[in-house]
């Protein structure tokens, strides 16, 4: 097991009280796994990614344990966590377009960042150039300012930069969302390539676009309202999901080949609950067509089939 998360609970502190953004998350990722993390906006997926590497206020660690390669990550300790960041665990943030200092040449910024982490830039330079080649960027970008690059180029540059020290785990947060279909595909495939080449051992891909996940992820984890709903291989999530939310979510996906005139898709009525004061029990209860009395208790996230985890009372039975 590369990454093991146990009962991770992270709240957002606000003036109105704590927002229960992530509650009791437990799961594991094996070496070499690309895990997709999907859910609607506000379901806690970005909070989850951030909390693994950069748990800063107003986020607050309530409880939970995270181990990476059998070492416990001090995720609640900003200072001690620095030893792991970049080297063991790294991130391609949602805001990759603005992730680089606008007034520094990219090469210089990279060198300064590496130097600050006691890594020699010159010895890494050949490897850096090799990787730039792989993502089809010329070495000239090192002599450019971020503003001189297009959105897609910046995205790729940040991907190379984030994985330069071969971290065990890479968190890729919405890396394809802002891109056009053709560059979306290129970036997604590069991510797979990075994993195959060992630039990062395992990857968590956070996105709201499940169809992209299906193309690149080995497993998919679905979150709903701050809790885990279902985790399984991407084929099972797509074709044999057990959680009613997953089922409905998959059925809402429009794709080429489906037309309004022929087959009408339906959305999920209602909206997710507010996480400031989340309801007890299963948080999908309100919108769930299968809900029954027992759903007033929160269902555990248990393994119902091999590597298939579901949090639903109806799924196990």
């Amino acid at each position: 097991m590369s990454l093991q998360v146990e009962n991770l609970t992270v709240y957002y502190q606000t003036l109105k009280g704590d927002v229960h953004a992530l509650e009791g998350a437990s799961f594991g990722i094996v070496d070499g796994e690309i895990m997709g993390l999907a859910g609607e906006s506000g379901c806690g997926k970005t909070t989850f990614g951030q909390s693994l590497i950069f748990l800063h206020p107003p986020m607050k660690l309530v409880k939970g344990r995270v181990t990476l390669d059998n070492v416990e990550l001090p995720i609640g300790d900003m200072e001690r966590m620095n030893d792991f960041r970049f080297k063991k665990i790294s991130i391609v943030p949602q805001y990759a377009m603005n992730a680089m200092n606008p007034t520094r040449k990219i090469g210089k910024m990279t060198a300064e960042l590496l130097m600050s982490r006691n890594v020699d830039f010159q010895t890494l330079l050949p490897e850096l150039k090799r990787r730039l080649d792989l993502v089809k960027l010329s070495y000239d970008v090192l002599n450019m300012y971020p503003i001189e690059l297009s959105g897609g180029m910046k995205q790729r540059m940040v991907m190379v930069l984030s994985t330069l020290l071969n971290p065990s785990l890479l968190i890729a947060d919405e890396i394809t969302s802002a891109l056009d279909v053709s560059s979306q595909k290129a970036v997604a495939e590069m991510l797979v390539e990075f994993r195959n080449k060992g630039y990062c051992k395992s990857v968590i891909v956070i996105t709201h676009d499940i169809s992209v996940l299906y193309e690149i992820a080995d497993t998919i984890l679905i979150m709903y309202a701050g809790q885990l709903a279902e985790k399984a291989s991407s084929d099972i999530i797509m074709f044999a999901p057990l959680h009613p939310y997953t089922k409905m979510l998959i059925s809402t996906l429009p794709e080429v080949g489906v037309r309004y005139a022929d087959k009408r898709l339906t959305g999920i009525p209602g909206g997710p609950p507010l996480l400031l004061n989340p309801p007890v029990g299963c948080r999908f209860r309100e919108r769930c067509p299968l809900a029954f009395e027992k759903c007033i208790e929160a269902p555990p996230f248990i393994e119902t089939g091999k590597n298939h985890f579901v949090a639903c009372w109806k799924a196990g039975a």
Binding site: I53, F54, H56, M81, N82, D83, F84, R85, F86, K87, S90, I91, P93, Y95, N98, A99, M100, N101, P102, T103, R104, K105, E112, L113, S116, R117, Y145, I147, E148, V158, S162
Partner: protein
């Protein structure tokens, strides 16, 4: 690149022409006839006064139509001729101004530069620690909100009237003639301290607050968070934030430097410090519109030159402007 500067230059020249025209117009719309005042000072008989009046009108070039006056004004300007003062007749305006400029530079250059340096330094410190933020920030807000003249009067009252340690009027002792003696330099310094301090303190407050806010903004920027997420030490993150926060401060500095030649009007008046600010007041009080025109002209030139310097400096300092010039980004 060249195109960019050409266009900029064009805009500056246009601005200059417009500003100078307005500068020429303002005194002419002021109430009161300066020649009449000049003659009345002499206390002549009515007949000789009439003769002198027509002489003065010709001497100042006021006997020709307005458009001709305007044209003559421009022609004279290109010969470096700002006209002749009415108040200190018959000294040329340029001479009077040149006598005042060194005092402005002496007073304002150190005040602006030192307050800028200190303000940025302390502002950056304030963004770093809660304790400093809670002390420097309120102090900065109080200082920057203080009117120059009020602080000037307070300082002059405290150190001059009550404590009798520092002089608070003039640029040097009235009993001295300017010379390169130790005694004169000493007197110059003594007289300099209070106006300098009043300017320095108020400006310091402004710079410190500006820097603190800019740094906090930069520390919350995406690139700062990315560096932190990759475990970059605070030193590097702060360094980047400081450099980027400095850019708007540089603009502010250059603008301030531009008004040096205009002097610090109220401070100079409070301390009777003979800079251009003080001179401007005298010109207004004496209806000396050639002198007033000259003072304004200096301000115009100063501000435009400073702005042009910023434009160039920004191209060198901030890559984003360079990209903008090429029509990208």
């Amino acid at each position: 690149m060249r195109r960019y500067f050409e266009r900029k230059l064009f805009i500056y020249i246009l601005t200059f022409v417009l500003a100078v025209t307005i500068d020429w117009l303002i005194p002419r719309f002021m109430p009161g006839n300066p020649i009449q005042i000049l003659i009345s000072r002499a206390g002549l008989k009515a007949e000789s006064a009439k003769l002198l009046y027509s002489y003065y009108m010709r001497a100042f070039g006021l006997d020709v139509p307005v458009w001709r006056q305007y044209l003559n004004f421009w022609i004279a300007l290109f010969h470096g001729d700002f006209g002749i003062s009415i108040w200190l007749f018959p000294q040329p305006v340029i001479q009077i101004i040149m006598r005042a400029v060194p005092f402005d530079v002496l007073l304002l250059l150190p005040a602006i530069l030192l307050s800028w340096l200190a303000g940025n330094k302390f502002g950056a410190y304030a963004a770093r620690s809660k304790w400093l933020d809670n002390t420097i920030s309120p102090l900065g807000y109080i200082l920057t909100a203080t009117p120059y003249m009020w602080l000037g009067i307070m300082l002059g009252w405290l150190f001059g009237v009550i404590l009798h340690v520092l002089p608070f009027s003039g640029a040097y002792s009235y009993s001295m003639m300017p010379s390169f003696s130790w005694a004169f330099v000493g007197s110059l310094l003594q007289h300099w301290i209070l106006p300098f301090a009043s300017l320095f303190l108020v400006m310091f407050g402004g710079w410190a607050i500006g820097m603190r806010n800019m740094i906090i903004y930069e520390l919350e920027a995406d690139y700062s968070h990315y560096l932190e997420a990759l475990g970059a030490p605070r030193k590097l993150v702060r360094n980047y934030a400081f450099r980027n926060a400095l850019l708007p401060q540089i603009t502010g500095l250059a603008l301030q430097l531009g008004v040096i030649v205009g002097g610090a009007l109220v401070t100079e008046i409070v301390f009777s410090y003979p800079g251009i600010g003080y001179l401007t007041l005298q010109a207004i009080q004496n209806h000396d519109f050639f002198l007033l025109q000259g003072c304004f002209l200096f301000v115009i030139i100063g501000v435009l030159l400073a702005n042009f310097a910023i434009d160039i400096a920004y191209v060198l300092l901030d890559p984003r402007t360079r990209a903008g010039m090429q029509g990208e980004g």
